[in-house]
């Protein structure tokens, strides 16, 4: 993580075109829209998968077809899965150097600053374009230490036993309807294994780009941090804006072994035609630490609740989440923590901003089980509304099944204070700048957990969104 968090405002030039550009790229294979057995088999065939994976897909499909939609969260009645193209394979072989990546695709990632960031501050990068990883590389030193960093398809081929042991074990297809959907048509994503005691000095990054209209991106990420290891993983995502609905239904499964530490940071910036129905879950063993840094900025509708299952004694988790709901956005986000062992601890700091009629809904679930003697948890959710027609809700559910636990909770919902805006304006800041500055201050606890480049990116997004919402 960058140590100098000073952000020079003069660097924060607004560039609207940064994410919203479309590329003409050939694809090698693409399924017809919708979801059925033939489509699922075709994807499995394309990937030349082992039997167990094919069966997992078909079982998932069955579950998807028979289950109902979740009865909470965003309205997904507009989401017509029969129109979603589940699999688009770009015409590109997986490369380990950017020179081998087809020109148009490389240009996309250049514009997003990925190769540049890799050179400067990352230990490795995976880049997914539509349904497949097109670039995956890790520094040689990391490889020598035994770190495995692969696209999921290669991992299924090269480490079948390891993958089988962990694939959809934290998030089974029976978890919810869109976990089943994911199980049936998943494609791409990262497999990361960090061996015992290895501390990866720089973050690893995965970037997901959806380029085609009406498609679904369903990448699957597995991180296994073996005993005493440490790793920081950053995930970014974006897409150009289309009329057609896009769907993102990824899954992230993290296994934090005894005494290991994982930090998973996300800046989600899907275009406003995207449904983001994503599932993230970590199983944390004795004395392990799981940190979620979760920024939900984009998408039309989101349901995302990073979860930590603290199953080992002394396991810890910390969630810092920021949700941004702008015009026409409904963001149902939150956090889930299950404390199932003694002396576990959890901190949740969730903040949301709603502006221009956006709706930010915080949904949290903290469960302190019978065995969680001496557990400590604090949950804080804060919502900031920037005008009178934006909405904010918080539903923090806390269940405690032991007498011996120290649980704290606070919630704050409020509008941006006129006095603060006036104070800043009296120092020469325009109204929109004043609001943006207050919002940036509000999300600071989150921003400072990000690498500097991402923090700058976040600020740029906030400026851009506030400027366009105020008009």
């Amino acid at each position: 993580m960058a140590t100098d968090k000073e952000i020079n405002i003069e660097d924060l030039l607004i560039d609207q075109s940064k994410f919203d550009f479309k590329s003409q790229v050939k694809y090698a294979y693409k399924t017809i829209p919708g979801l059925n057995k033939q489509i699922v088999e075709a994807i499995s065939e394309q990937k030349q998968e082992p039997k167990w994976m094919r069966e997992l897909r078909l079982k998932s499909l069955e579950i998807f077809e028979t289950w109902r939609d979740p009865r909470f969260g965003v309205d997904i009645s507009d989401l017509d899965v029969s129109k979603i193209v589940a699999y688009i394979k770009p015409d590109a072989k997986k490369a380990t150097s950017w020179e081998e990546v087809p020109q148009e695709i490389k240009e996309t990632f250049d514009k997003l600053g990925i190769p540049e960031a890799e050179k400067k501050a990352l230990a490795g990068v995976g880049a997914q374009y539509d349904s497949e990883i097109v670039y995956q590389n890790i520094k040689k030193e990391m490889e020598k230490l035994g770190v495995i960093f692969l696209d999921m398809e290669s991992a299924v081929r090269e480490y079948p036993d390891l993958v089988k042991e962990f694939f959809m074990k934290a998030i089974p297809p029976t978890d919810h309807k869109y976990a089943a959907f994911h199980g049936a048509v998943w494609s791409g994503g990262t497999f990361l294994y960090v061996p015992k005691g290895v501390k990866v000095p720089l973050p690893l990054q995965a970037y997901f780009r959806m380029n085609n209209p009406g498609m679904g991106q369903m990448e699957h990420t597995i991180i296994i941090a073996d005993e005493g290891s440490e790793v920081v993983f950053i995930e970014g995502c974006s897409a150009p804006l289309y009329e057609a609905t896009n769907l993102h239904a990824g899954a992230v499964e993290i296994y934090v072994k005894k005494g290991a530490r994982v930090k998973y940071a996300t800046i989600q910036n899907w275009s406003k035609n995207t449904y983001n129905l994503n599932t993230k879950r970590a199983l944390v063993d004795e004395d392990g630490i799981m940190e979620w840094v979760s920024g939900s900025m984009g998408s039309q509708k989101s349901m995302i609740y990073p979860a930590s299952i603290l199953r080992g004694k002394g396991a810890k988790t910390e969630t810092i989440a920021v949700t941004y709901a702008g015009p026409n956005q409904h963001m149902d986000t939150g956090s889930k923590v299950f404390m199932l062992a003694p002396y576990t601890s959890a901190i949740v700091d969730a903040r949301s901003i709603s502006i221009g009629g956006g709706w930010a809904f915080y949904r949290g679930w903290l469960r302190v089980g019978e065995k969680a003697k001496g557990a400590k948890a604090s949950v804080s959710c804060q919502a900031l509304m920037l005008d009178n027609f934006s909405k904010s809700d918080t539903v923090p559910i806390i269940e405690v099944y032991t007498d011996d636990a120290d649980i704290g909770h606070e919630a704050r919902i409020g509008r941006i204070r006129e006095e603060q805006i006036y104070y800043l304006m009296s120092r020469g800041l325009k109204e929109s700048e004043a609001k943006a500055l207050i919002v940036r201050g509000f999300v600071e606890p989150f921003a400072k957990e990000l690498p500097l480049e991402y923090a700058i990116e976040l600020n740029r997004l906030i400026n851009l969104e506030i400027e366009s919402s105020i008009g």
Binding site: E6, I7, N8, I9, E10, R417, E418, E419, Q420, Y422, Y423, L424, M425, S426, R427, G428, L429, K430, E431, E433, A434, L437, I438, R440, G441, F442, V443, E444, P445
Partner: protein
């Protein structure tokens, strides 16, 4: 010579309740002058400051405010700040998550877009100012006014005055809540930052600060207007006899809220 600030028969009310607070204020401040505005609690001194700064909580119903001969009534608060108006707040707002350093740079660049000095130069300048004001080393790394003591907040305002180089400074009770050492430092800084191009309107209850920042004029402000204007001696007189005696002498009624 055009006055720096000219307030002509200014009347203003609170937008929400429609209650008139300024009831015909006349005041002229020239470059290089220090004006003290004294008056009892609740007389509307702060309201005058905020109306000059363009706070939208208040509505001007008649009269005018001219800055260098031009009416500023139609300008927003930030536009007034960019013209060179500055108000030090009685209770400055706390804004979490944004460091003083970042805030100051941001303001400076807005107010002085023509200044080519580098970030490094401006950073140096800020550090010097914190030393002058006897502020802790970490002052610039703290969030805007957040968790500051009363004294630190006042010093923060004066540091902003020194850094942003305004041309008209309205200092609203900059002396309240300061111990004697802090009062001396704040006053010395005001004197330091003042120059021949700058005008100052010093709003205060007490004569104490005027021993350090010597005014050219003293105005007594009661119930929404200036009732008497004099020189430094007037402040000393008020300290001795109190506002109510002045009111009796002038045959006025004081709002005792």
């Amino acid at each position: 010579m055009t006055a720096l600030l000219e307030i002509r028969d200014l009347r203003a009310e609170v937008v929400e309740e429609g209650v008139e607070i300024l009831k015909g204020v006349n005041l002229t401040i020239n470059k290089g002058e220090i004006h003290a505005l004294m008056g009892p609690n609740g007389s509307g001194k702060s309201t005058l400051a905020h109306v000059i700064m363009g706070n939208t909580k208040y509505r001007v119903t008649s009269g005018d405010i001219l800055f260098e001969g031009q009416s500023i009534l139609n300008l927003s608060t930030d536009e007034r700040a960019r013209l060179g108006l500055f108000l030090s707040f009685q209770t400055p707002e706390e804004i979490e998550g944004i460091k003083m350093r970042q805030f100051l740079i941001n303001s400076y660049r807005n107010i002085h877009p023509e200044d080519q000095r580098t970030l490094l130069d401006l950073n140096k300048l800020m550090t010097e100012l914190t030393k002058k004001l006897d502020l802790n080393q970490d002052f610039l790394e703290r969030y805007i006014n957040t968790g500051f003591s009363g004294g630190e907040k006042k010093k923060s305002e004066i540091l902003q005055m020194g850094f942003l180089k305004p041309r008209l400074c309205i200092l609203d009770e900059i002396d309240s809540g300061l111990d004697i050492d802090a009062l001396r430092i704040v006053s010395e800084s005001i004197n330091n930052f003042k120059n021949d191009e700058m005008g100052i309107l010093l709003i205060t209850h007490y004569q104490r600060i005027l021993n350090y920042v010597v005014p050219d004029y003293v105005h007594v402000y009661i119930d929404g207007r200036i009732v008497i204007t004099g020189e430094k001696e007037l402040a000393e007189k008020i300290e001795k006899i109190g506002y109510s005696t002045i009111e009796k002498e002038l045959g006025l009624k004081i709002n005792e809220e």
